[in-house]
């Protein structure tokens, strides 16, 4: 029943994409933060995808995807001269997070499109499976 595996494959992709959306949400929420929990400016995070072979059983190929890790963007944060700000350093500069809102929006659209694509794949697979179940009946 190789069609059943489609749910594993697309399911893994959907969960990875939702993790990516999660990271984008966290980045966008912190676009204007000055300091993170460690006292330093927030660093933008990024997920890395990795292929997972899903050929248990019959040895037929099939590849899902998983999040291999979440990495932090090490680019320096945005510096704004604002001596009146309580978090300004000795020179009067405030270090904001290094999140680029445009990048994040693009990332978000890409993630949501991939999510939709995989949902549609699962819907089609479900329709086909239901029709397969009715084989010989009509």
């Amino acid at each position: 029943m190789s069609m059943m595996k489609i749910f594993d494959i697309s399911g893994s992709a959907v969960s990875s994409q939702s993790q990516r959306l999660n990271v984008v949400a966290s980045n966008l929420a912190n676009v204007d933060t000055v300091a993170g929990p460690d006292g330093k400016a927030y660093k933008a995070r990024e997920v890395t995808f990795q292929t997972v072979l899903m050929n248990a059983g019959d040895g037929a190929p099939g590849a899902g995807v998983r999040v291999a890790g979440v990495s932090e963007n090490q680019a320096p944060g945005r510096k704004v001269h604002d001596p009146a700000n309580p978090s300004a350093d000795a020179d009067g500069y405030v270090t904001y997070s290094n999140v680029n809102a445009v990048d994040e929006m693009v990332n978000m659209i890409s993630a949501s499109r991939s999510y939709q694509n995989n949902i549609e794949v699962m819907n089609t697979a479900k329709t086909l499976l239901m029709k397969t179940l009715q084989m010989g009946q009509g």
């Binding site: 489609i6 190929p61 899902g64």
Partner: protein, 139 residues
């Protein structure tokens, strides 16, 4: 008896291969954002020819016979690795991912429609056989 199920066997092989291809395309779509992933697809015609052991998918199709060493016997479900090829990238990307989403979506829809067509062939075959088995008094 074999004459009765010959065409059913053929359609069943086709259906299995269609399901296999559907899964391949689902893998490609799932990995559209994975760096370094290489898209795969199958040459359906040659895969089917290999799976059914016939030279042409015409009226001359017979039950599969292994005519050469290395032929894979039918019915063991080992249709994997048949005619699997790597898709040539149409537009290269920086992360060397070769999934072309437009092509994958088109293949996906194409494959779903053909899967349904094969299902319909099977259903019609079954109905034809059932009709043939009925006695005249059953209408």
């Amino acid at each position: 008896m074999n004459r009765l199920t010959n065409s059913l066997d053929f359609q069943a092989q086709a259906l299995t291969l269609r399901a296999e291809r559907q899964r391949l395309i689902a893998s490609n779509i799932a990995n559209a954002d994975t760096p370094g992933y290489v898209a795969r697809d199958m040459d359906f015609a040659s895969a089917l020819r290999e799976a059914t052991g016939t030279q042409a998918a015409g009226s001359t199709m017979t039950g599969a016979t292994a005519t050469a060493r290395g032929h894979i016997p039918i019915g063991t479900g080992s249709t994997s690795e048949l005619g699997l090829k790597y898709a040539a990238p149409s537009q290269t990307s920086l992360d060397s991912n070769t999934v072309d989403m437009d092509r994958e979506r088109a293949s996906f829809v194409d494959n779903s429609v053909k899967y349904e067509a094969t299902l319909r062939f099977i259903n019609t075959d079954v109905r034809t056989m059932l009709d043939a088995m009925k006695s005249p008094s059953q209408g």
